[in-house]
């Protein structure tokens, strides 16, 4: 038991402070109200990398990243996520690592049915499990690759096992003890089937913040395909376009956002900069004045006005 447990304890999870759950309510709901989904899905093309000791995170993530068309091996991922002293990988570093491959780590909503929908849409899911008990957890990262509604089980790539099944009921319990944590890892040109606007944009904003601007811009554009009135997506599209030097696109995005929310002074500020870059000096100065009309004491806007006035066109 000791050796097997040590091999399985390969994720490092900061205390979730969850209560124990002896039942599996989502499973009950699912079986009572079968979703309108195919009875059986298995994403057989998801590559399998058997894990090295403690390296369940790198092995599982390598499988998903390869599935998205990028050739990596677990050792490469381990350099991004593994902490030798802790014999595991942190969830935030897993997310950070996916971004390094220009993939979006989108957190899902914690519903069992959503996992099935994602699988039916062709998205394997990176999941965290606690395979032991609440008080003495054994954390494990795995890839969810399929399900069977008739057999009532999930299908996973797990550790050194290319394919295991786990009943919906047991999967739900081990997942509940892991805070229902699950990531869909997608190219920025697409959106996971069940992702909320907030969760998707959060992932895109993170991508922008760590400097992967082209991917972030693509993500904002994808978001606007599904949520065309998203102020945040338009703002992000403007900002990433600006940072990439596409000032025409930046102006267009800011103006579209300002149609939705004309009182958003920050957007007037940023528009002013885009206009300045386009050589439209008067329009630029008008825009920053507009920002100051909305928020006269804002020190940033005041500084911006001074800077924009100084720029020679």
């Amino acid at each position: 038991m000791n050796r097997r447990a040590r091999r399985l304890a390969c994720a490092f999870v900061i205390s979730l402070g969850l209560g124990a759950c002896a039942t599996s309510p989502q499973t009950r709901l699912l079986l009572d109200n079968p979703p309108d989904l195919p009875a059986h899905v298995e994403l057989t093309e998801v590559p399998f990398f058997p894990q090295q000791q403690y390296h369940c995170g790198p092995a599982a993530l390598a499988g998903i990243i390869n599935y998205r068309g990028i050739a990596v091996v677990p050792d490469e991922i381990a350099r991004l996520v593994y902490i030798p002293e802790l014999k595991g990988s942190l969830q935030v570093e897993i997310a950070a690592a996916t971004r390094q491959y220009d993939l979006l780590p989108v957190q899902l909503d914690g519903q069992l049915e959503s996992l099935l929908r994602e699988l039916a849409a062709g998205n394997p899911i990176f999941v965290l499990q606690n395979l032991a008990i609440e008080a003495y957890p054994i954390w494990h990262y795995e890839i969810l690759i399929g399900y069977d509604l008739e057999q009532r089980h999930m299908i996973l790539r797990s550790g050194v096992n290319r394919r295991i099944t786990r009943t919906f009921s047991l999967f739900e319990k081990t997942w509940q003890r892991a805070g229902h944590w699950a990531l869909a890892v997608v190219d920025p040109d697409s959106i996971p089937a069940t992702a909320s606007r907030e969760a998707y944009l959060a992932a895109v904003i993170d991508m922008e913040q760590v400097g992967r601007l082209s991917s972030a811009r693509q993500g904002y554009a994808s978001a606007l395909g599904r949520w065309p009135d998203s102020l945040l997506a338009l703002s992000g599209l403007g900002n990433t376009s600006y940072a990439l030097g596409d000032y025409v696109a930046a102006e267009s995005a800011y103006r579209a956002a300002l149609v939705i929310e004309p009182g958003k002074a920050e957007l007037w500020n940023n528009l002013a900069y885009a206009l300045a870059r386009l050589g439209r000096r008067q329009a630029s100065l008008d825009a920053i004045e507009h920002a100051l009309d909305l928020d006269p004491h804002n020190a940033t806007f005041q500084a911006s006005r001074r800077e924009l006035a100084d720029w020679s066109m």
Binding site: M1, N2, A5, R6, A9, F12, V13, I14, S15, L16, R79, L80, V81, I83, P84, L86, K87, G88, L90, V92, E93, A95, A96, R99, Q100, Q107, D109, G110, A132, Y136, P137, I138, G179, H180, W181, E198, A199, A202, I205, D206, E208, Q209, V210, L232, S235, G236, N239, Y242, K264, E266, L267, N269, N270, Y273, A299, T300, A303, S304, R306, L308
Partner: protein
């Protein structure tokens, strides 16, 4: 759902602690546009990043990798793990688990390692 709250709900306005400096001119970043109007808490992000980098090094991560890994995390991710990395390590749990299982098996008569007087 609890974890989702952990990750996303904190309206942290992250800013380098730089009291008394003049405001920066320039663009307002997307996450700040999102948070405008929030009275959030100011966090010394640079200090937290330094701490995490040191912690990764202490944990056996190579120096060049530690720098890159800290840079790859967002301010909110940094804040989430800052000073929390030292909570109950997973490795220690394994021994306790083994002991618990041993005792349970012993008490319920499934094994019989401890001789009766």
């Amino acid at each position: 759902m609890r974890f989702k709250i952990l990750l996303r709900s904190l309206p942290i306005v992250v800013a380098v602690m730089a009291a008394g400096l003049p405001a920066q001119a320039g663009m307002v970043a997307t996450d700040q546009i999102q948070q405008s109007g929030f009275a959030g808490q100011f966090i010394d992000v640079a200090g937290q990043r330094d701490w995490i980098q040191a912690r990764l090094l202490q944990g056996g991560v190579a120096r060049s990798e530690a720098t890159a890994r800290v840079a790859a995390m967002t301010d909110v991710e940094i804040a989430q793990i800052y000073q929390r990395v030292d909570e109950a390590p997973a490795g220690g749990n394994v021994l306790v688990l083994a002991l618990v299982i041993f005792l349970v098996l012993e008490v319920t008569g499934y094994i019989d390692v401890i001789p009766e007087k």
